[in-house]
């Protein structure tokens, strides 16, 4: 860890991630509310958040179940949404400490948000490992607690949209994206990624547009 280029303190990292953590907490609570409403046992809802830690994938699986789909279809839908983590896993590997097994375990803390924060904190082409782990662990904690509270409280909670928290996610992504758009390659990758995602969205199941954007980003990087 000592060789890390941007060796930011844990406290600084937590402060940067705080607004995202609030949004993730509410996102987790709304997942808990909706999953229990779809007749999943409360313990399985919390267990899913603890073991999968991927909001979009969990909502996709829940959507299939709520629409009367089979368990296998639900698993497949959720897994499709996580395809992009293969690419982000490759991107963060060199920033993680330890051997293959430890890195594989630490890599479980990758989410869109923790990955983006680590890229923002790191050098070009080398995400900051400490930021990934601290942000990931922070968001994991609030995600699981949020799910638990949502599953227990259910309809008592209000609509998170009233607080604009659904807008916090795209605002977060655009705020991280903007400073990256310094080079010609980055601009090209961003435009192509957005276009590919938009082109695929009407015809493919959720998840494939993001996987397509990831492939195009890797393709156009140089």
């Amino acid at each position: 860890m000592a060789a890390m280029q941007a060796d930011r303190s844990v406290r600084q990292i937590l402060q940067s991630a705080a607004p995202i953590a609030v949004a993730v907490f509410v996102f987790g609570a709304s997942f808990g509310v909706l999953a229990v409403a779809a007749h999943l046992p409360a313990w399985s809802v919390v267990l899913m958040s603890a073991l999968t830690f991927a909001g979009s994938a969990q909502f996709a699986a829940l959507g299939v179940i709520a629409a009367g789909g089979s368990v296998l279809t639900a698993i497949f839908a959720g897994a499709l949404l996580n395809l992009r983590f293969i690419a982000t896993g490759i991107a963060v590997t060199r920033s993680l400490p330890g051997g293959r097994l430890l890195r594989s375990l630490l890599g479980q803390l990758s989410t869109d948000e923790s990955y983006a924060m680590s890229v923002r904190a790191g050098a070009p082409g080398r995400p900051d490992g400490q930021t990934l782990l601290v942000t990931g662990a922070f968001l994991y904690t609030v995600w699981v607690i949020g799910t638990l509270i949502g599953a227990l409280l259910g309809p008592v909670l209000g609509d998170p949209k009233r607080l604009g928290l659904d807008a916090a996610f795209p605002a977060c992504f655009v705020a991280i994206l903007w400073p990256m758009l310094s080079g010609k390659h980055a601009v090209r990758c961003a435009i192509a990624g957005a276009l590919v995602a938009l082109a695929l969205a009407p015809f493919t199941p959720p998840g494939l547009p993001l996987a397509g954007a990831a492939i195009v980003g890797l393709w156009l990087a140089r």
Partner: protein
């Protein structure tokens, strides 16, 4: 949903997610041709996430309060304001517009 079925769902989804997140870190030294390209991943993925969240599943700009929220966040980021300010301002814009216009 019965307990064992719910457990199968949870374990199945968790196992596939684990494998996908572990693939990159578990692979032994990948060729530089691949790792050098990962610098293009973040901008492409972030732009795609913004595009998808603003359009829903139809690939057409869905005009709701998230659009001005993202525009405000982008302008503040361009002005080099801190990350937290951009995110909170985006959420505030969305919340305010919803409250005022009952969207």
């Amino acid at each position: 949903m019965a307990g064992p079925v719910a457990l199968a769902l949870v374990i199945g989804l968790a196992a596939l997610s684990f494998i996908m997140r572990a693939t990159g870190p578990f692979l032994p030294n990948l060729p530089a041709a691949i790792t050098e390209r990962t610098s293009g991943l973040a901008p492409a993925l972030l732009a795609a996430l913004v595009a998808i969240q603003l359009t829903g599943s139809h690939g057409i700009l869905h005009l709701d309060v998230k659009v001005p929220a993202v525009l405000v966040a982008a302008v503040l980021a361009a002005l080099r304001l801190p990350f937290i300010v951009c995110v909170v301002a985006g959420a505030l814009v969305a919340a305010t517009l919803r409250a005022v216009f009952h969207l």
